[in-house]
Amino acid sequence: MKTISILYRFIIALVLWFLNITQWFHRSIIQFISRNRYTITVNIDVSRNDLWNINNDQMSKIQFNKPTEVLALIINERIPDTDLWKFFINSIVFFRKLNIQHLIIYDYEGYIKARETLIMNYVHEYDKKVQSSLPLPTIHFLSLIDCSQTLTKVTQTLCQQVKQNELNPDSIQIETIDRCYTKLSTIPEINLALIIGPIKSALGLHPWLTRLTEFIMIDSYKQIQTTNSYINIVQRYNLIEQRQGR
C-alpha cells in the first residue's frame, strides 16, 4: 500500500510539473503577445518609457453599458516600485474617464496602502502636466485590517444603539446593516473587481460589498499595460448579464 501511495504521489507530482511548465509557457506567450500589441497599437507620440500611455482617441469610444460606479483593483502579487506608480496612474487615468465614482485599491498586506501618499503625488503631478479638468474618483487604499474591522464596528455600533434604546434588535434587517456598513466604510456595493495576480480570491476585500460584484481575473499586472488591455476588460464586463436571482 505504501509503495502504491508513493507511486501515486510521483504521478501527481509529474502531472503538476507538466501543468506548471505549460502554465509558464502560456504566461510567456501572453506576455510576448502583450508586448507586441504594445508596439503595434500605441500612438507614435507615446514613448515606451513615458509613464502615462493612455490613448485618448481610443478612450472616446469606450463606455460601460450598465451603471458602474464602484470599481476595485485587488492586487494579489508584489508589483515592484518601478512599475507600481505607472500601473496605478494608468488605471486611475483610464477609469476616471469612465465616470467611476469610487476606485478601491486593495492588497491584503497593505504594502500599496503604505505608498498611498506617493501614488497620489504622482497622480496630482500628472493632472498638472496634462491640465486635466476631469474630477478624480474617491480613491480608497485598503488592506485586510480595514476590511475585517468594518463588520465588527457595525455590530458594536448597533449594540450601542440597542443599549440606548434607539433600536429594537428584532427590527434589524439586512437594510439596517447595509446602511450602517456603507456609512462606516464610505463605499457602496462594488460593481466590478479586477483580481490581479496568481491567487484567484478577493482575500478579504469587504465581503459584505461583493455579493453581486463581477470579478475579472488577470494573471499579472503585466497584462494590462496598454489602453487596449483596459478596453478589453471593459468590453468583457459589458458582455456580462446580471440576472439578480431571476
Partner: protein
C-alpha cells in the same frame, strides 16, 4: 459503495479510467481540499441548449448533486456546501418556484427512504437558510433529517435553501446583540474572530471553512453565497453548466487546488496572522466567548427540535 440510494441505483458505477484517476488523486495529492462550496448554476441554460423543459434542467441538476456527493466522498472530501435556492430566487415566477419546491420534496423523501444507509454511512445533512419561509412540509422534513443526522461527521452535506449570505450575517449580528444584551459578552469582545466563530456554529459542522468556492456556468460572481466563509478560499469559476458537470471537471479542480494550495495556504496563514495582531485575548474574554458560543449552539439545537 453508494452514499445515498437515489433513483433506485444500488451501486455507483465508475469506469476503470475514472477509478484509476480517482485513486491517483485521492492517494497522490498531498493537500486535498476538505470542504468545497458550490454554486450549482446553469440548470435553465442547460435545458434551453438541449431543448428540454426548464423543470427537466432543475431535476438533472438535483440528480447531479447526489453524483457529486458520491464523488467527493470517494475522494476523501468530507464536507460539501451547496447553494440550492437563494432568497433572491423568490423573484422568479411562481411556476418555477413551485417546480423547485416539488423537486426538493421528491429529493427529501428519497433521502428519508435511505435513512438507514445514512445512519450506516454516518452522513450529516444540514439545511441552512431562512427556514421559517419554507413550505411547512419541507420545513418539517428538513428538521426531521437534521435531528436524525446532527451527530454525524463522516460526510456533511450543507444545503443552503432560502439562503443569502447577507441574511445569514444579519442573523449572526442579531445573535451577537442578544448575547450582549444578556451580558454573555462585552462590546469589546466583538471582533472579526468572534463573528467567524459564530458563523461556523451555524454553517460548518467540522469547523473547517471552504477550501474551494466553485461556481459553474461561467458566471464570475459570488451571488451572495458564503461571502465571509469563502473570503480566503480558492475561487474557481468553471465554464460548464451544472447538469453537465462531470467527474473529470472535479478531478481537474482538485489538481488546480493541489497546484496552488501551497501558495494559498501561505497567504491564508499570513492573513490569519494579520487578523490575530489586532486581537486582544485574555482568560476572561476566552471564557465569555466560550459561554456565548455554547449558548448559540444551544439555540440552534433548540430550533431544530421545534
Amino acid at each position: 459503495m453508494s452514499l445515498i440510494t437515489v433513483n433506485n441505483s444500488s451501486n455507483f458505477h465508475y469506469t476503470w479510467l475514472q477509478r484509476c484517476a480517482g485513486n491517483i488523486i485521492r492517494y497522490g495529492c498531498t493537500t486535498r481540499p476538505k470542504h468545497i462550496a458550490i454554486v450549482m448554476d446553469g440548470n435553465r441554460r442547460f435545458a434551453r441548449e438541449h431543448n428540454f423543459e426548464r423543470s427537466r434542467g432543475h431535476t438533472l441538476g438535483a440528480d447531479k448533486l447526489f453524483d457529486v456527493c458520491q464523488w467527493c466522498y470517494d475522494l476523501g472530501i468530507n464536507e460539501l456546501s451547496v447553494y440550492a435556492f437563494s432568497l433572491e430566487n423568490l423573484k422568479r415566477s411562481q411556476d418555477e418556484i413551485d417546480t423547485l419546491m416539488s423537486i426538493a420534496r421528491l429529493k427529501l423523501s428519497e433521502i428519508e427512504k435511505s435513512l438507514e444507509k445514512i445512519h450506516e454511512q454516518q452522513i450529516c445533512i444540514r439545511i441552512i437558510g431562512n427556514l421559517d419561509l419554507l413550505p411547512d412540509d419541507i420545513r418539517q422534513s428538513s428538521y426531521y433529517l437534521m435531528n436524525e443526522t446532527d451527530q454525524y461527521k463522516n460526510f456533511i452535506l450543507n444545503v443552503c435553501f432560502y439562503y443569502t449570505s447577507r441574511n445569514e450575517i444579519t442573523n449572526i449580528i442579531k445573535d451577537l446583540i442578544k448575547g450582549y444584551q444578556k451580558d454573555l459578552i462585552n462590546i469589546s469582545d466583538i471582533d472579526d474572530d468572534l463573528i467567524m466563530q459564530s458563523l461556523i456554529v451555524s454553517t460548518s459542522h467540522t469547523g473547517h471553512l471552504p477550501d474551494i468556492f466553485l461556481r459553474t456556468s461561467g458566471e464570475l460572481r459570488l451571488s451572495d453565497f458564503m461571502l465571509l466563509q469563502c473570503r480566503f478560499s480558492m475561487w474557481i469559476f468553471a465554464d460548464v453548466y451544472w447538469p453537465a458537470f462531470n467527474i473529470w471537471h472535479l478531478y481537474w479542480i482538485i489538481l488546480q487546488y493541489e497546484m496552488k494550495s501551497k501558495t494559498l495556504i501561505n497567504i491564508q496563514n499570513q492573513c490569519k496572522d494579520i487578523l490575530k495582531e489586532n486581537q486582544i485575548m485574555n482568560e476572561e474574554k476566552t471564557q465569555r466567548i466560550k459561554t456565548y458560543l455554547d449558548w448559540l449552539e444551544q439555540q440552534r439545537t433548540e430550533r431544530l427540535k421545534l
